[in-house]
């Protein structure tokens, strides 16, 4: 891990703090990091509970995305006919605003964790499917021919050539999905939750406790960054050959 990332973040906070003080910006508009910190620390057990609640939704939604997207991508990549049938359905799920979908799901499924996880999944899974399908289909024809020369059937070509070839693409999709899971969880919490950082933001703003709302936003950002970093770390540990191949991936 290079140091430039942390340095950039610390610099950002310092500029923020300095700017707020220098220009005397009122706290309800933009609180300084120090004010955010003191406010959050005052009720830290509550903040921690909300964080854990959101983290649970994020992780469950992200896990659902991974578990469903990868087999789905293999199915789509296995035949043009299946791809032509499934892709339009996926695009439809992406065209529906999740904020509109969330209340419907909550009415149908009850105000519990399930609709929140589903919304998180719906927000996060699509880029993962698209990236994985792209990776599976991008396997070089020479490698497919090599497998065919070794009498590999379609299934073996998929598992032994296409799947490993798709790993860098899949991780590109996983990183996007990790960041989007956080977005999805908050969207769901905005609509129907009695805990979580999204809920904390709403209640704080209702009571003009802007620093607390900002604290929730900062924690969400850190959560997204941490998930992104963990996915990158897993990639480097399990698939060391993959990171260098990343250069070939178009930005998702």
């Amino acid at each position: 891990m290079r140091l430039s990332g942390p340095i950039a973040i610390v610099t950002l906070f310092l500029l923020w703090e300095g700017g707020v003080r220098a220009f005397g910006i009122p706290e309800f508009l933009l609180p300084a990091p120090s004010a955010i910190w003191t406010d959050a620390m005052r009720i830290w057990p509550t903040v921690l509970n909300h964080t854990l609640s959101t983290l649970q939704t994020v992780l469950l939604g992200f896990a659902a995305s991974v578990i469903i997207s990868l087999p789905l991508a293999m199915l789509i990549a296995s035949s043009p006919a299946i791809s032509a049938a499934i892709y339009p359905l996926l695009v439809i799920t992406q065209s529906i605003p999740k904020v509109a979908l969330a209340p419907i799901l909550i009415i149908a499924l009850g105000a519990n964790e399930l609709p929140r996880v589903i919304v998180t999944f719906l927000v996060a899974f699509f880029p993962l499917v698209v990236a994985s399908v792209a990776g599976l289909l991008a396997a070089p024809p020479e490698l497919i021919e090599l497998a065919r020369a070794c009498r590999a059937g379609r299934m073996q070509q998929m598992l032994r050539i296409r799947l490993p070839h798709a790993v860098p693409f899949v991780f590109g999709g996983l990183k996007v999905a990790a960041a989007l899971s956080v977005v999805g969880a908050v969207v769901a919490e905005f609509v129907g939750a009695d805990a979580g950082l999204g809920y904390l933001i709403q209640t704080s703003m209702a009571f003009f406790r802007t620093p607390l709302a900002f604290a929730a936003v900062v924690i969400l950002a850190m959560m997204g960054m941490a998930l992104f970093a963990i996915v990158g770390l897993i990639e480097r540990i399990l698939f060391p050959w993959s990171t260098s191949a990343q250069a070939n991936i178009p930005a998702a």
Binding site: L146, C150, R151, P164, H165, W241, S242
Partner: protein, 256 residues
């Protein structure tokens, strides 16, 4: 034994037009025979190997290996492609053992044999390297080891030494001859080098382009084991001269 009779191959282009890559190919390769194929670029050499490998179907005629019609890739046929075609995610050792593992034929000594082959190819110590950590010539040598490890009855090699420097090329040629002598595989060996073809082969198939067909088959009357001293042999010159004449005459006829 490989038998090709009246083999033709026509590709349908994307624009609907047809490319006649090969026509009227008749060839019989005895078990354990080494046949080299030379010819201008685009005359269908790679296509011929792909047909024998069972990777693409013939348009006309028939291809048999050991009396059975080639419709699919066979377990006893191994191919060295024109490009190394290594799995970028697997290390050298796993690349070499890949075909046997894929076909479920890997045994306990597979890995030892692979290491021994790699050592012969000058790749000892590179077993755990990834393909991108190797030079182009080293990658091609890995691909050759991969084919040899299968101990095929039919070995198809498409310009396997194309990416090698002259020195490694000569070394690998002799090593290939030695291993071929041990295994007794029938070899179809595509090359652009006339001297390489003569040095290695029992017979040299000379192909001419548009459409690809056999212009001449030149027997090489050099004793085995072969080595580079034989390049001074009159039989070497005779064969090389005849091949050159065929290629040149075709070229001249085309230009006229």
């Amino acid at each position: 034994m490989i038998l090709l009779s009246g083999v033709g191959k026509t590709f349908r282009g994307r624009d609907g037009g047809e490319v006649q890559a090969l026509t009227g190919i008749d060839l019989r390769v005895a078990p354990g025979e080494f046949v080299a194929i030379v010819g201008a670029s685009g005359c269908g050499k790679s296509t011929l190997l792909r047909l024998v490998a069972g990777l693409v179907p013939v348009s006309l005629g028939r291809i048999e290996v050991d009396g059975s019609l080639v419709a699919d890739p066979r377990a006893d046929t191994a191919m060295v492609f024109q490009a190394p075609t290594l799995l970028p995610w697997a290390d050298v050792l796993r690349n070499v053992t890949f075909p046997l593992r894929l076909m479920g034929k890997a045994t306990r000594e597979t890995e030892d044999r692979a290491r021994a082959l790699l050592a012969k190819a000058g790749l000892a110590g590179f077993e755990t390297k990834l393909p991108r950590e190797l030079s182009g010539g080293m990658q091609q040598r890995v691909a050759i080891c991969r084919a040899l490890l299968q101990q095929p009855r039919v070995l198809l090699m498409d310009e396997p030494f194309g990416a090698l420097d002259a020195l490694t090329r000569e070394e690998m040629s002799l090593e290939l001859l030695r291993i071929w002598g041990e295994t007794g595989a029938a070899v179809l060996f595509v090359t652009h080098s006339i001297s390489e073809a003569v040095l290695l082969a029992d017979r040299v198939v000379v192909m001419s382009p548009r459409p690809g067909r056999i212009a001449d088959i030149v027997p090489v009357e050099l004793p085995r084991p072969r080595d580079f001293a034989q390049e001074a042999h009159p039989a070497f010159h005779a064969a090389a001269q005849r091949i050159r004449a065929t290629i040149y005459q075709r070229g001249a006829a085309h230009a006229a």
